[in-house]
Symmetry: D5
Subunit: 149 residues, 10 copies
Amino acid sequence: MLKGIHPLLGPELLHAIRTMGHGDHIVIADANFPSSFLGPKVIRADGVDAVGITEAILAHMPLDTFVPEAAWRMEVVGDPTAVPEVCATFQDLVNRLAGDFTVHSVERFAFYEMAKKAAYIVATTEFRLYGNIILKKGVVHPHEVYRVS
Amino acid sequence: MLKGIHPLLGPELLHAIRTMGHGDHIVIADANFPSSFLGPKVIRADGVDAVGITEAILAHMPLDTFVPEAAWRMEVVGDPTAVPEVCATFQDLVNRLAGDFTVHSVERFAFYEMAKKAAYIVATTEFRLYGNIILKKGVVHPHEVYRVS
Amino acid sequence: MLKGIHPLLGPELLHAIRTMGHGDHIVIADANFPSSFLGPKVIRADGVDAVGITEAILAHMPLDTFVPEAAWRMEVVGDPTAVPEVCATFQDLVNRLAGDFTVHSVERFAFYEMAKKAAYIVATTEFRLYGNIILKKGVVHPHEVYRVS
Amino acid sequence: MLKGIHPLLGPELLHAIRTMGHGDHIVIADANFPSSFLGPKVIRADGVDAVGITEAILAHMPLDTFVPEAAWRMEVVGDPTAVPEVCATFQDLVNRLAGDFTVHSVERFAFYEMAKKAAYIVATTEFRLYGNIILKKGVVHPHEVYRVS
Amino acid sequence: MLKGIHPLLGPELLHAIRTMGHGDHIVIADANFPSSFLGPKVIRADGVDAVGITEAILAHMPLDTFVPEAAWRMEVVGDPTAVPEVCATFQDLVNRLAGDFTVHSVERFAFYEMAKKAAYIVATTEFRLYGNIILKKGVVHPHEVYRVS
Amino acid sequence: MLKGIHPLLGPELLHAIRTMGHGDHIVIADANFPSSFLGPKVIRADGVDAVGITEAILAHMPLDTFVPEAAWRMEVVGDPTAVPEVCATFQDLVNRLAGDFTVHSVERFAFYEMAKKAAYIVATTEFRLYGNIILKKGVVHPHEVYRVS
Amino acid sequence: MLKGIHPLLGPELLHAIRTMGHGDHIVIADANFPSSFLGPKVIRADGVDAVGITEAILAHMPLDTFVPEAAWRMEVVGDPTAVPEVCATFQDLVNRLAGDFTVHSVERFAFYEMAKKAAYIVATTEFRLYGNIILKKGVVHPHEVYRVS
Amino acid sequence: MLKGIHPLLGPELLHAIRTMGHGDHIVIADANFPSSFLGPKVIRADGVDAVGITEAILAHMPLDTFVPEAAWRMEVVGDPTAVPEVCATFQDLVNRLAGDFTVHSVERFAFYEMAKKAAYIVATTEFRLYGNIILKKGVVHPHEVYRVS
Amino acid sequence: MLKGIHPLLGPELLHAIRTMGHGDHIVIADANFPSSFLGPKVIRADGVDAVGITEAILAHMPLDTFVPEAAWRMEVVGDPTAVPEVCATFQDLVNRLAGDFTVHSVERFAFYEMAKKAAYIVATTEFRLYGNIILKKGVVHPHEVYRVS
Amino acid sequence: MLKGIHPLLGPELLHAIRTMGHGDHIVIADANFPSSFLGPKVIRADGVDAVGITEAILAHMPLDTFVPEAAWRMEVVGDPTAVPEVCATFQDLVNRLAGDFTVHSVERFAFYEMAKKAAYIVATTEFRLYGNIILKKGVVHPHEVYRVS
């Protein structure tokens, strides 16, 4: 562990979000998501839920303000207006930690297509169905990094 | 870059100090140090000085309080009581960021022997001679990591 | 995830305990343990606690009955008779899932020496100090594996 | 071996089906199937028959209920309505272990095309011709995984 | 599969015994043997029993006639004169396929030491305890290889 | 070497033809063939002629009876009806070891295109020009493999 | 470090610009640039600013005089005529070290497309937004290399 | 193949003897020699006999004149004064191609010890027992290399 | 070094031209050629000029007589009829060592396209501009290789 | 090539001497030196002589002034006081480019032992016997590196 850094970020995930730049995407995937065969590098987070990983990433990674959409979730198959509890929690987390962003819903197979273009996929053991979110990294400004006082 | 994390920590160095545990050592080496052939994995920090890297590491990594010594510098060859300016700066940094630790001086070849057993060596472009320091990681307590408020 | 298998066992950890044989050791290490530089292959379990991983492993892996000791914890430095709460939980888990085994305490540096000879080290984010345990795999008997009824 | 897990699942195959997610395919191929040059990663199961591997996989992996077809076998060349004995056994196994799914027959070269898109191919030593099956993984629900009682 | 070659020999195992020379050892290990951490390269034979693999190897590999001993099994712990059924089968196989060789018994930990010096370890799913054998390759004479008539 | 196996099959070539399945191709190439840059994995057979390698492969690998053509040679540039001596030998070998198959001639650049899709290319030191042949693997039936009597 | 060579050029960056030839491009990217997922090999320069790296490269690498454009910067989003201070510094550096070249501005996404075709991307920790530049290597003439006098 | 170079030298073997220097050893091993587990890199020459490989190597590689012995063969087990026919051929070849050197005989296990220290082992399919030789490379003089006339 | 082989051919380059077959191309590139990013494997020949490497290759590799063109050089930009001195030397070398072949000139970017399809690029330190040549390997006939007399 | 850098330093050799630090050794070896099997990483410089490489390295790398000896050559076997011409040239070069250092002679096998501990061995095609030298890197001072004026 490290001081001042979210403890859910292991070495590989820290490395991953540190390499990401403005506009790169990261997928936080639930336990049933087909993470391993879509193309992007997979970071295993077995035993951790998607909400925890999302919190950990948003603690240190801003969302993109240059574009109208910077966060997406998977639409419920057969019930496009439903908002599962885990998705409502994603929306709350985004508002608390990243700002006034809407987590947009995306049809299942279109979501897979978005995932194929991401920088990384984090494979969690989130039990709840539809516990998937994609985040787009924004610009980090100098005043936001750690400064020795 | 990432919010709340020292900007001098690139992906590889962040990964490195996140993998270190209680009692592991890291060497921050100057531009003339024989970093590449001592054994430990080398992390290049070309163009950065040793003081900057030391500050960045101490910003997130505590020193070990279980043992009497947790930081060492290389003794000046032929002048064992000398304290080069860069070493005085190391001592100041340690006191400001890590606590009441003495940076102990170690004879040149004994310092190389210690370096051989370190977890990592960070190869900086510190111009100043004797700009080398070894740090021993301490325990990180739960209240020290990032917590979402 | 898979049916009938503990969900905390990700692909790498499942693979690991499946390759282990009679008498091989696995270390479940807390967040401060120096896991990466002792020698054995490290399996990251960032964000998971040591008790959860121990439960998951014991759900599928028996302890060794051929020898007098098959489980060990790290002795508290400076207080060899103390039994930290996390260690008491280890003992309960072992009794519930593996049988009548004592989790023996081992002095800190002797524990490191044992860890160097293990098959794997699982690096958890267990916050509690002394949240480390070593388990010795026993023989699996034919009636214990999955059988299609 | 491991307690409660089918013994035909070696470390690599366990790892494979644990990485698969909702909608991913796995091919269980007979001894004459051109497994090695179609693209997907091959897991060798030399000396084991296809029925055994299919049983082992279905013991821990559900089939997909979101789509009309979740299992396929290769159609006999020149006799499209034939149902070889090994294929009848596949159908029985699927019904016993996975539920009310039909194992659909697919023309030989179309079957190869499906195999090219699978996550894995398991190369068995099934002697019987047409001893090939493709399975599509379904969603695993929380009540289906191992739970410590 | 290949004509005239034992079908239990997959590509990796065929490659292995073809690389072995006069005096090299191969271990056929049961499902509980600690195969993975002794040093030699491991060839997985999950789902196959040790007797089948031994038969397949002896079908194509002679034993060494230059030395007094060319085959060994593990002695039963606590009962050094016992001959488990699987070991009797090993002895029969050796006599039928290799000639008049005794399968010598070796104490458990001495057997591990021999295994560490082998060329390969084949990890089977032999359920029967003590289902382990070490074979020493002999010289292959020109009249023994395949000849086009 | 191994008993009952053609001695020209080294470990890598044995491994190769064991991985091939029904319908896969293997190229046996002469000393001037551009083997290394066509795509398939190359197995070196320096110092061996193409006829010897073809004999060794056909000793253990059947040709495909499901399709009208299962063996091809390169047509002489500028003399399409010529049958070089090495090609006549290929035809004899095929008839003796594989059955009633014609070795069809293919124009030089079309032959290269076929070679690009093969599973393997065996690069021999066959001196004779046009000493190249492509073989298509057939089905191996249970009665053709090695059986312990 | 080396005599007569710019100290900001570490081993990997020296290696990189030495492998580049006439017409190859190198990107010097700021701290927010999405360096890692565009395709070219990334050279980390964490802790160094883009102006320093540009100076170091131009100290040893000429720009291309065969074509009308040999240096490019990213256009400010929403303000195409703006010239950020860091870009003015790039222009000064180019004029001082490389000659009479204009640093042309390129729209953000077109700049990404150019970056995808570069030989290397150097990922700096330049804090200033738009601190990105692409340089095209020119011909090195014999009189320009080091000569022992 | 290449002009003026022995055709039995494939790419790997040519590379090998070109990297060898004054005093390095190469083993040419028969079909029963335990080539793969002694340590040195193995170059397969399946299907070629040891005499052919020895001729090919001596065609381009001189033996060492700085030391009293530069070539060794394995002594017949149980008959130390025997000179098998293949060994007599080795002696003839050495005399014809390398000069007035004796091929010294070495006891079997001492020969293995010498082989462990060689630069390379060439694994031939030499059928004749004791068809093994070790050669020590000498100095190549300028007048011996290829010169354009 | 080796007897009878051109000394400028190091292990890697010898290996390369030995793997090439009839019709494969090799590029010998000058010090400014963009060798590293065109695709083919690059063999470094730093410190050697292109004429020396061309001589060394032609000493052992014939040019292709099956096609009208087997050698090409890069046309001078802006002066298509110019014949730089280094190119005249290439033509002389080809005539002396390979026979009556013309070294055809090819426009710069078309030359790059040809280079992308070559088997190898040899990166020399030829100072002279336009010191680039592409050679197409021909057939080696049995009487051209080394023969023990 | 690069401006202001010795052209004989290719990418790998530049990288090598840039990674070396105070006290590390580099061997420049002649064409007969057994470079490949002593342990250190080998950098090929086929076609270049040892004097050229030594000049190139000394152009950018200082020798060590902290110790009494910083350069060594191999003693002539059987004539310890001889100074071959190539060695005299080494001494001249060292004096011209590095300063007042003696190139000490070392007995052949002791020289090999020193070479085993070097950081790198550069394998040249120096024809002259005894064309070997070992150099010990010294400290580079800030005023010696490249500075933009």
